[in-house]
Amino acid sequence: MIQLYNVFKSYQGNPALTDISFIVRRGGFVFVAGPSGAGKSTLLKILFRWESYDRGQVLVNGINVGKLKPNKLHLLRRHIGVVFQDYKLLAGKTIFENVAFAQEIVGTSKKAIRFQTWEALKNVGLSHKKDAYPLQLSGGEQQRVAIARALVNSPEILLADEPTGNLDPEISFEILKLFEQANRKGMTVIFATHNQDILHRGDHPTVSLKRGKVVDSRVLS
């Protein structure tokens, strides 16, 4: 469960988020919508403590995010898979190695890594390209690799920051389907987007932000 209470965040005195409060139940799927600069990315970054916040409370699976010390951040982040607009794949590693890398970091055994990486790539339809390098793939394919990497450690929460931002509509819907598929398996998904087609097609509760404030929430209890 993700709980935010009156969260306030500013950058050098300029408010980026003001009084943000909402709750996402375990296994829920929520869109965070809003134009560029609305505070979607900042909100997501706060959830996995990439950014700190000035006031309020954020609880993720019972962990008080604001009180986590730097050497304990991994305890929060291991519960969360993150997908970015720019994929963040390592160009020098193959697709297989990129997905395996996420498991090496958390100390999975080599045997399990081979099996789980294969499964994760199969789930996103890219097992046949396991030896290719990221730059040899299309944008949609790269994003599918990034999703496979985010899912491979079976996190309880999946955060997506404009994952379809660089993709054409048809591919975007395919990507959305992958997130919905993960959600059906019990994962909590928070999907940030400014794409209206995705929002209509998805039909999930939405938190709409504008200039750092919640302007509409068809959510969430």
Binding site: F48, W50, E51, S52, P70, N71, L73, H74, L75, L76, R77, R78, I80, V82, K88, L90, F101, A102, I105, V106, N153
Partner: protein
Amino acid sequence: MGLFLFIFINLNSLLSAWDQRVQLVVYLNDGISADDRKRLDQLISRKIEVVSFEFISRKQAWAKFESSFSKESDLLEKLDFNPLPASYNLKIRSSTDRLAEIRQLSDILVSQAGVESVEYGEKWIGRFETFMIFMKVFLMALASLISLGAVLIISNTIKLSVFSRKDEIELMLLIGATPGSIKAPYLLEGMFQGLLGALVSISLVKLVQVYLKYQFQGSFETLIRGMEFQFLSQTYIVTIFITSIFIGLMGSYISLQQFLNSYYKK
């Protein structure tokens, strides 16, 4: 660092060789009585600042003079008497205010019956003491600077290495790597760099030492007595290895911590 230690050790051995040669010469009157000599002998042997002393009779002084100036035999033959006085050669202990001690001792000795004069090269010893202090301070300062330089160099090398793998580290942080697992490879790299540095430096020093020993040992000895071109002792070698590895570790720790803090403080 190794080269510095090599210079330090050899300079130190040279300085201590010089240091041991600081002496005070007490010239005696030709007609000194046996009692006066005995009293003088007792006085000198009671002085704690005197490490050792030697009596050189007029005959011994002449024999020494003859052997030193054997090439000038014509001149020596023309001298039909021994002009040299008997003397005491005193070796003085090394201490922080040796010059003052020598002055004091000289004043006591010169006022004794049967003593003609006392010589100790006041100016030379004064300069030598100043030079010794300067060298020690200079070498210590140099050692600190070299160590600091090494830490900065390794720190910058690791910083470059960290920045070249910035994306990978960022991803590790995102996925939930423990701080230890992020730091470990870089700390090991730093330690390895230190180890490699120690190996290269010790090998280089050995090469320099062998070269100097075989090329210049003989000629240098005549110029600067006490110069031996010693290699580093086992203790110094172990110290270099441990210090280098520690410097490598510190260098990489500093740059890594700076890098990680930039993420933690967001």
